[in-house]
């Protein structure tokens, strides 16, 4: 009888890894100018399209994304579809999401053969889909690469995605400012899946931000797996290990549901918690303001709507409204705004379930 080997590859082969990748992005760092001020951001659900709104030439946009096995990816699909409906001059050809590389390549090739005007691709695996991106570009179809980036800039005309380093940075600055003047402040971190690059980027940003606050020290860090179950288990242990701390940064709002449950079960308070991603449940908790969760750092799914805007502008040969350039930019990194009680109403419509 084949004998399974317990505990080998405990993390490398997990479904959770896909899940984690889906939850956020495997995107590269395109950190340019992340401001520390998070309060005066434009609304993430800006209804103003990036390019001008006047109907123009008919554009067919092909959209291929991964399987929506996570709230954030559902939100990506919803955002793309609803934005495309806003335009009378846009036809959206949407494929069924798949996490299978071969299948996704096939779907994109079908879209190429159908001669769509522009492609928007959120690859399940950016590296693995680079070739088909190149193929589309060579066929004269411009590609808008969404979030998980292709291996080479030749494979896309424009990249739109989130900023993992910026999430950590902004979470760190928010916490640093809140704990200003408190001597010997202690901070703990509940990270996401540790073998994902994006988790390291988030932690790096967080650590870099905390260097600005000599009174604040990170005393513990545990990695969970982007799931409610792991969030509960790891947080319960962290709470036991740290009898006193002042702030907690949790990388992901989904595992945050579990983390909050552990906090409630341990009957703990007296610290401030900052989440990550921008789930509706987190926004609601921030608005109610009756628990430890005071803020969350965004990784906005609205990027899908922006990708449709950019694809339309590409198809019609327009630039982006408000910018001097004649063409759309080559890459756009979204800002990881901090949402707290002061601005939560503004962001509420973008919260995903």
């Amino acid at each position: 009888m084949p004998e399974p080997t317990p505990f080998t590859n405990r993390f490398t082969s997990r479904r959770g890894m896909l899940f984690g990748a889906a939850a956020v992005s495997a995107g590269t760092l395109l950190v340019g100018c992340t401001s520390n001020d998070s309060k005066d951001e434009e609304p993430a659900a800006n209804d103003q399209p990036a390019a001008d709104d006047k109907p123009g030439k008919q554009v067919t946009i092909g959209f291929a994304g991964p399987q929506a096995d996570h709230g954030w990816l559902n939100a990506i699909n919803d955002n793309a579809e609803s934005r495309a409906k806003k335009y009378s001059d846009v036809t959206l050809e949407i494929t069924e999401g798949s996490n299978d590389t071969a299948q996704q390549i096939g779907q994109i090739e079908t879209l190429i053969n159908k001669k769509v005007d522009v492609l928007v691709v959120l690859p399940a695996d950016g590296k693995a889909l680079t070739q088909v991106g190149l193929k589309a570009m060579r066929a004269g179809i411009p590609v808008v690469n969404l979030d998980r980036i292709f291996n080479t800039p030749q494979a896309y005309r424009c990249w739109v995605g989130g900023d993992n380093y910026g999430m950590g940075l902004n979470a760190g600055h928010y916490i640093g400012e809140k704990l200003k003047g408190k001597s010997d402040a202690r901070v703990i971190e509940l990270a996401g899946l540790d073998n994902l690059e994006l988790t390291k980027q988030r932690t790096q940003g967080f650590d870099d931000a905390l260097k600005n606050y000599p009174n604040v020290k990170k005393v513990a860090r545990q990695a969970a797996e982007f799931t409610v179950e792991s969030g509960q288990a790891k947080m319960a242990q962290l709470l036991q290990a740290q009898p006193r701390f002042d702030a907690l940064w949790n990388h992901d709002d989904d595992q945050g549901v579990g983390a909050l449950r552990a906090i409630e079960q341990a009957g703990r308070d007296g610290f401030l918690m900052v989440g990550g991603a921008g789930a509706l449940a987190a926004f609601q908790a921030i608005k109610q303001d009756n628990g430890v969760l005071k803020a969350t750092v965004l990784y906005p799914p609205t990027m899908a709507a922006s990708a449709i805007d950019l694809a339309r502008a590409l198809g019609q040969g327009k630039g982006v409204g408000g910018l001097a350039e004649y063409e759309i930019p080559a890459s756009i990194t979204l800002y990881s705004a901090v949402v707290d009680k002061t601005n939560v109403d503004q962001y509420m419509p973008t919260g995903f379930k």
């Binding site: 399974p4 997990r14 797996e225 509960q232 549901v257 379930k353």
Partner: protein, 338 residues
């Protein structure tokens, strides 16, 4: 190769016939394997106590370790039966996921506490029934049948939720995870775990059902010739494993306050590892509930000590692997001296 195949080894009538001092006889009866596991657990407790005396040797921490052991512990009890019969159930984690997701869908939550509890159990038993029918009457190899169940139950769980987290809104359920629900300082989850363990031990060691399980695992053909309905026995065993998954799913709902399609991730490996470390033979014919439960407690304690000392997950993985090897080696050593 060191074990006799057939009758339950834990029963006292099979003590080796070598004259031993009275105290040694008692020790042998208590089972050296179990003692070696207790030794490992004690050593871990000492390590925890030395490295983090204030946090580790704390009532709350004891409650925490036992609570976290409960969910996987209940699954492991069911798994022990299946492995003892010479089978394997790779679908336990997926069944926990499906049961937790189904039990927490909005429609079910309208039926309150009982709705959630029974849905979880029925889904668990249902999946176990499919496993059992495929294996016992469909002639499928357990590895394959339960692998198929793993895939389809996870798929169904994903389909039911659309990847979304089903948050529990029924108050009575969540209350069971709160501190004021503790009975004499023992969390209700731990009480369920204890009950499942005791029932599991009694059934495996003190009933015909248990003896048949061991017999089927030792030599299915001999068991059939002895008049045991091997097929029906196998069907019941996978049903039992499914039921344990349903109970575990309910405990997980209480613990995490939600159902998610990622629940129970890799439970199959954790449960198999705990059972094997506990002394259950992967080839069947020998099973020990006490050992399995000690195996679960050892893993949970390791995780706890690592977290308290703020070790990162890479270190945790390496150390966990090393401890599995060490525990099995120690066990082999003690087994050969009996």
């Amino acid at each position: 190769m060191t074990q006799p195949v057939s009758p339950p080894r834990d029963s006292t009538d099979k003590v080796p016939q070598i004259p031993l001092p009275a105290w040694r006889t008692v020790m042998v009866r208590a089972d050296l394997r179990t003692l070696s596991l207790l030794g490992v657990l004690t050593a871990l407790i000492v390590i925890g106590g030395i490295t983090k005396p204030d946090e580790f040797l704390d009532t709350r921490n004891l409650q925490l370790v036992l609570t976290q052991a409960s969910v996987i512990g209940v699954v492991t009890v069911g798994m022990t039966f299946v492995i003892t019969s010479g089978g394997i159930d790779l679908s336990v984690g997926a069944i926990v996921a499906l049961a937790s997701v189904w039990a927490t869908t909005v429609a079910t939550q309208e039926y309150g506490f009982a709705g959630i509890l029974f849905t979880a159990m029925i889904v668990g038993v249902g999946c176990g029934l499919v496993n059992g029918l495929l294996i016992a009457y469909g002639g499928m190899v357990p590895f394959i049948a339960t692998l198929a169940m793993l895939a389809s139950a996870r798929g169904l769980a994903l389909q039911l939720t659309d990847g979304r987290t089903q948050i529990v809104t029924v108050d009575g359920v969540l209350d069971l995870g709160e501190r004021d629900a503790y009975v004499l300082g023992v969390p209700p989850l731990v009480i369920v775990f204890a009950i499942v363990t005791v029932i599991g031990w009694l059934v495996l060691n003190r009933t015909t059902f248990g003896r048949r399980t061991v017999a089927v695992g030792g030599n299915a053909e001999a068991a059939r010739l002895a008049g045991i309905d091997v097929r029906r026995q196998r069907l019941y065993l996978y049903l039992l494993s499914g039921l344990c998954c349903g109970i575990a799913a309910f405990l997980l709902i209480i613990l995490s306050g939600s159902g998610q399609n990622t629940n129970g991730n890799l439970y199959e490996l954790d449960a198999i590892a705990a059972a094997i470390i506990g002394g259950t033979l992967l080839t069947g014919g020998r099973g020990t509930i006490t050992g399995s439960v000690l195996g679960v407690l050892i893993f949970t304690t390791i995780t706890n000590i690592f977290a308290l000392n703020n070790l990162q997950s890479d270190v945790q993985q390496i150390a966990k692997g090393a401890i599995i090897v060490a525990a099995v080696l120690v066990q082999r050593r003690t087994a050969s001296t009996t």
